[in-house]
């Protein structure tokens, strides 16, 4: 594992490149779902570093996503033309804007993380939730960012390759961190902070680090989203969006990267699949009203899953309260 991770990343990137050649002729509906899956993988895998591996319950991931989405959009809208030297120039501008969006989100993560990571559990969840609303509130009132009207007009730069390349990088970063002696600090903080400190681990550093890295990738995901939909609105980054990501992490299994990626795929496709089922002609007439209420069905599935597998689909860490 340790020796081969880098080659696996390279392989994944090449695979993204090859596959992107085959998805050009796909219907826009399916393409939308495929890109949505990729973005959700980035969001879920990065939140898993915070919530799953480091055990800090953050409910503000959509806030960081918003920072990345708006900042990168603002960059490409304002300065994109400077690099308008054909496809190569705009692509460079786009990728730089994505990373800049991620960096600003990471900086925001640092600013939020340092004061609020003194809190634990429920309290941290509330603070991060509040922060999410603050970001949203600021954007809603920021005239240069379109305020309540939303921000649009970005070119559609996001494609299959960039989405899944960043997804691969996210998974690589999270996995190579937690599978190293350096990253064992994250796991120690999750399991027992007092014991972690006694083992010479700077728990504050690890908590802030997880927060910052998580925020960075959330910001990148936001940039990808903005340059795919070509329009962003503050309401798209409310706490419900944060909740969606948390649900992916919990359902997939806190602290299992394979699990949360699987959950990201499942939870993005499931509502659309239920929509398809509800509309299919071979569905018996009496089942149709049930299928049409697909969001109820979706919620029901989540409840059943949590009751039968509280540790998540792939997870080993139980959600039960830890001793402090």
């Amino acid at each position: 594992m340790i020796e081969r991770t880098k080659s696996i990343l390279l392989l994944a990137l090449v695979l993204c490149g090859v596959l992107s050649l085959f998805v050009t002729n796909i219907s826009p509906y399916y393409y939308d779902i495929i890109i949505g899956v990729g973005i959700n993988i980035i969001l879920a895998a990065s939140l898993n570093l915070v919530n799953g591996y480091t055990g800090q319950f953050s409910l503000g991931h959509a806030g960081f996503m918003a920072v990345g989405a708006y900042f990168s959009s603002w960059l490409t809208l304002s300065f994109g033309y400077l690099l308008g030297l054909g496809a190569l120039g705009t692509t460079t501008a786009y990728v730089v804007a994505l990373i800049a969006g991620g960096l600003l989100a990471a900086l925001t993560g640092l600013a939020v993380g340092i004061p609020s990571l003194r809190l634990r559990g429920d309290y941290l969840a509330i603070v991060t939730l509040g922060f999410n609303e603050i970001i949203k509130g600021v954007i809603q009132n920021a005239e240069p960012l379109g305020a309540q009207r939303g921000l649009g007009g970005m070119a559609q730069h996001t494609n299959f390759f960039w989405t899944y390349a960043f997804a691969a990088v996210t998974v690589y970063v999270v996995l190579s961190l937690v599978h190293s002696t350096y990253g064992s600090g994250f796991l120690a903080v999750r399991d027992d902070e007092i014991a972690a400190e006694a083992m010479g681990i700077n728990t504050t550093k690890y908590k802030v680090l997880a927060f910052v890295i998580g925020a960075f990738f959330a910001g990148v995901a936001g940039g990808l989203y903005a340059h795919f939909k070509q329009f962003v609105h503050p309401e798209g980054f409310n706490f419900l969006r944060s909740f969606d990501i948390v649900v992916m992490v919990i359902l997939g299994g806190m602290g299992s990267t394979a699990g949360v990626c699987f959950a990201a795929v499942l939870l993005t496709i499931l509502p659309e699949w239920l929509r398809a089922v509800a509309g299919s002609p071979w569905l018996p007439e009496w089942l149709r009203p049930i299928a049409e209420n697909r969001m109820i069905l979706y919620s029901l599935l989540l409840i059943i899953l949590m009751l039968t597998r509280p540790q998540g689909l792939f997870g080993e860490v139980n959600l039960k309260r830890k001793k402090t």
Binding site: I2, A195, A198
Partner: protein
């Protein structure tokens, strides 16, 4: 005693109106094995928490290797060479035996986060070094066969031993053991005493032992301090302590005139 490693001077600890340690002065010399005993609630674990920075003393001085530890975060104190175990075992419950020890190697890493991400040649080399040093420790303590097991699956005695291994992996100069014999049967206790003495010799450590069990303390400690209601009531060799009237009174109660 070659030199003083740990020095506590008139340390007082007060939680609100509750004073659980009063003017406690005490020292541990280099490669000395010292016991700290006392009845329940005498303040023994508080002493540990003060030394390791979990609590800050209300008054008094604590110095390690000549420099104060007051105001330092626990991880800094560990980095300076004090490692501890806990009264109620505090292993990282979701990690394997091996990974539990690995967390303690974290502070000795020569490289930072970029190293773990880029994974250049040096990374694999350093991880190999860490792995072999952990394997060596686990072998010494007879836990090598369980290295991939979840630490929760270990029997209680092994969990306590694993805690000692984990503390040793931080490469301390002073090892604080908080009731290492708690919950062990007599055979295990004798084993443990041998193990502590062996560890001390092998790694050239000073050991401070908090213990309830008189036999363990008397058996291995070179010097013993006795706490009662937060005050030191006696200090001396095991023989002296055994005969001390105050100690006997604290443990067995005083004879009354009636």
């Amino acid at each position: 005693m070659t030199g003083t490693l740990l020095q506590l001077e008139t340390v007082t600890m007060q939680f609100g109106g509750l004073r659980c340690l009063t003017d406690f002065s005490f020292s541990v010399g280099e490669s000395e094995l010292v016991g700290l005993i006392g009845p329940n609630g005498a303040g023994k674990t508080t002493v540990f928490n003060l030394i390791t920075g979990v609590y800050q003393p209300t008054a008094g001085q604590i110095a390690f290797a000549g420099k104060s530890v007051i105001g330092q975060r626990p991880y800094r104190i560990t980095a300076r060479g004090i490692a501890r175990t806990f009264q109620n075992v505090r292993l990282f419950s979701s990690l394997s035996v091996f990974d539990n020890v690995r967390t303690a190697c974290n502070m000795h890493l020569r490289h930072g986060i970029s190293h773990a991400l880029v994974r250049a040649d040096g990374f694999a080399r350093e991880e190999k070094e860490i792995e072999s040093s952990i394997t060596e420790l686990l072998e010494i303590f007879g836990l090598a066969a369980e290295r991939e097991h979840s630490c929760r699956s270990l029997p209680y005695g092994d969990q306590r031993r694993l805690e000692i291994v984990r503390a040793l992996a931080t490469r301390p100069k002073l090892l604080l053991l908080d009731e290492p014999a708690a919950g062990m049967n007599p055979t295990e206790k004798i084993e443990l005493m041998k193990l502590i003495r062996f560890t001390k010799e092998k790694f050239g450590l000073a050991v401070l032992l908090v213990e309830h069990d008189m036999r363990v303390v008397m058996g291995i400690c070179e010097r013993i301090a006795v706490l009662d209601y937060g005050k030191k009531i006696a200090e001396g060799t095991p023989d002296e302590i055994r005969r001390d009237a105050k100690v006997i009174a604290a443990y067995l109660g005083k004879e009354t005139d009636a």
